[in-house]
């Protein structure tokens, strides 16, 4: 038997494109349900229709009879198609009563297949469990091929995007998140009602659920139930009104006002934007460097390089790195991601709870750019340095996250301090008082932040390479150590003062240039005479 084209990657990834018939079918699917339908359900239905159409095409004589099912009742001379026998077509020649000690009354039909084939008998009028009795089967399912659901999962990226772009370009359909509905079936609203929604959120001083807004807007009477169509219609209209943003986590729609959202909820701070988009090759790293990728909590590190993570951990502790400390954010990595409320559609507003005071303040999960915003004032208030250990804890409420640091008795330690001298980044050891535990290899203090920011801008304008940045800061850091060695973590921290780079990119520069010489345990030296 030749392979069905709908069972191949080539069909779904290259040949498939939703046609007018598909759009008509989707239209009918939504019309019949009269409910918004998720794109996954739309896609599975469309894949099923394509698979069934191919089966029917491949056997034109399938049109000539009805599909055999054990539960069916069949008469003599009736033509049947047998899905489990490669869609063979046969004619019922006789029927008799079946006999089985467990199954009570049922029939047995004798079927002639032609071409001199001997007749075969099949069960009929049989209501017991049998795979062919399933009502939701597709022809492909019956044939032992990948089901429409399995095909969709296998080629979801391609199918999803093709259907999405087709529906998005068609004015007959409206959407909210990944739910689609028909524009003609949408509820009508007066424009003024959305001013009421604006005022209601403003007065609430926080986001409101779509149900709360529907009530505030007076769209339903006291005894009326809010329907899914009403929720969809309101959400669709709000999503297309630039005043409003959904800030709820997955599965929860919460409407808020864009004018009172911080810009960082939508636009990543420059300090977090990576220099270049080149991936790194972890295969280049030795046993000293590789574990550091997981130790340094940076969203630029590939998720696979974080090693085993417990997604159900009730708390995690991370090391605050330079870029995040500067802009009051935390990285979203495989380690931190499970603790924060997220949405694949929008930034999510939640409450940070100060682990020491119990005070709450707003936090934003920005999944699109892999960071959590809102810790600037908290870091300042607690005087947390770069390298401080920050602990994130779950609460019973997924929209409330405890943030804390590891307090210690205030003491003055010698820490490396960054400053700008003659337009170059320099470091020196200065005493600084800290009341928290921190990673000594990561800590970096700052003198004049305005000068450092100016240096950052100049480096960005000159598109200073990470290699060049390393060559500039290495002598500055190595002079602080009698052995003239610098740890890879310290180099990562130092580079990020003037250029944004994940640890993988920094390490890759270390291992690929002969001027950087590996010592033991992650320490490196620098020989400027070996520069490229």
């Amino acid at each position: 038997m030749s392979q069905r084209k709908t069972q191949t990657a080539q069909y779904w990834e290259k040949l498939f494109s939703p046609n007018d018939k598909d759009i008509e079918d989707i239209y009918q699917q939504i019309l019949e349900s009269s409910q918004p339908i998720h794109i996954d359900s739309i896609a599975v239905g469309l894949v099923k229709r394509h698979c069934d159409a191919e089966e029917l095409e491949s056997r034109s004589d399938l049109q000539e009879g009805q599909l055999y099912q054990p539960k069916g009742k069949y008469a003599v001379d009736e033509r049947l198609i047998f899905p489990a026998l490669d869609f063979a077509v046969g004619t019922v020649t006789s029927t008799r009563a079946g006999q089985h000690p467990d199954y009570g009354t049922f029939d047995v039909i004798e079927v002639k297949f032609g071409n001199g084939q001997p007749t075969k008998e099949f069960v009929a009028n049989f209501e017991h469990n049998h795979p062919l009795n399933a009502d939701d089967h597709s022809l492909a399912n019956l044939h032992g091929l990948l089901s429409p659901e399995e095909l969709y999962q296998a080629y979801k990226d391609s199918i999803y995007s093709k259907i999405k772009s087709t529906l998005d370009a068609n004015d007959d359909f409206v959407k909210f998140h990944d739910q689609y509905f028909l524009a003609d079936l949408m509820a009508d609203f007066q424009e003024g009602l959305f001013n009421i929604a604006d005022a209601a959120i403003d007065i609430n001083n926080g986001p409101l659920s779509v149900d709360a807004l529907i009530e505030q807007m007076g769209l339903v009477g006291e005894d009326q139930e809010i329907t899914d169509v009403m929720r969809f219609s309101v959400s669709n209209r709000l999503a297309n009104d630039e005043r409003f943003d959904d800030v709820g986590p997955t599965g929860q729609v919460l409407w808020y006002l864009q004018r009172i959202e911080p810009p960082e909820a939508h636009h990543p701070p420059r300090r977090l934007q990576q220099t270049g988009t080149q991936p790194y090759d972890p295969g280049l790293f030795d046993d000293d460097l590789l574990p550091l990728l997981a130790e340094i909590d940076d969203e630029a590190t590939h998720p696979d390089d974080f090693g085993a993570i417990d997604p159900n951990a009730s708390e995690v502790t991370i090391t605050l790195n330079y870029p995040h400390r500067r802009v009051g954010t935390l990285p979203l990595t495989p380690k931190t991601l499970p603790l924060f409320p997220i949405s694949y559609y929008n930034p999510v507003l939640f409450d940070f709870i100060d682990g020491r005071t119990g005070d709450t303040f707003p936090g934003w999960t920005v999944l699109e750019h892999n960071y959590v915003f809102g810790l600037g004032q908290w870091c300042e208030k607690n005087k947390l340095p770069v390298g401080a250990y920050v602990t994130i804890k779950r609460t019973k409420n997924p929209l409330q996250i405890i943030v804390d640091y590891q307090a210690s008795r205030t003491q003055r330690d010698w820490v490396r301090m960054a400053s700008v001298n003659n337009r170059r980044l320099t470091f020196q050891m200065n005493p600084a008082a800290h009341a928290c535990k921190y990673d000594e290899l990561m800590i970096i203090g700052e003198g004049d932040t305005a000068q450092i920011d100016a240096l950052w801008v100049r480096a960005e304008e000159r598109n200073l390479s990470i290699y060049e940045a390393l060559c500039q800061i290495f002598p500055e850091l190595s002079k602080l150590n009698p052995q003239s060695t610098v740890h890879a973590k310290t180099l990562y921290s130092g580079v990020n003062v003037m250029r944004r780079a994940g640890p993988g990119i920094v390490f890759q520069e270390l291992v690929t240039h002969p001027c950087f010489i590996a010592m033991n345990h992650g320490y490196w030296t620098y020989d400027p005479s070996l520069r490229d």
Binding site: H100, E121, L132
Partner: protein
């Protein structure tokens, strides 16, 4: 004669009851060797009866000896039914009795009989010469 296609470890096998019918083989006599002692005694005085066995995949019906049903529902429940001392060929046949002749690969048969290797089981039932009606499942008629 159908073209012989060499089976693999992924090939599903079953007992083809039409093989027993076409060849005039005595299924009842063979099945008796798989019945437990209590059923053996009962069967000695019992008149042969048939029932409509229903293929769990295709819905096809074969009228076969009631002894199959008795062994499947009663004797196969005995923990010694797939005893290690039973020859491999008998154990393979019994694996199909246990599953009521649901198609199985050599690997799945091995998981049931826990003897030898899937490859050896495949060599045993995947040859041109059909052993006790155990044949690869063919999707067409």
């Amino acid at each position: 004669m159908a073209k012989y296609i060499k089976p693999t470890l992924e090939t599903k096998f079953h007992i083809d009851f039409s093989w027993w019918q076409k060849g005039g083989q005595n299924l009842r006599a063979f099945l008796q060797s798989h019945a437990c002692e209590s059923c053996q005694e009962f069967l000695e005085n019992d008149q042969p009866q048939t029932f409509d066995w229903i293929n769990p995949v295709t819905g096809e019906v074969f009228q076969i000896d009631m002894l199959w049903h008795i062994i499947h529902t009663h004797c196969s429940q005995d923990p010694t039914f797939l005893d290690k001392r039973i020859p491999l060929t008998s154990a393979i046949f019994r694996a199909f009795i246990i599953t009521n002749n649901t198609p199985l690969t050599a690997v799945e048969v091995h998981e049931k009989v826990m003897k030898k290797t899937p490859e050896l089981i495949l060599n045993t039932i995947g040859r041109r010469q059909v052993y006790k009606g155990i044949k690869p499942v063919i999707s067409g008629i």
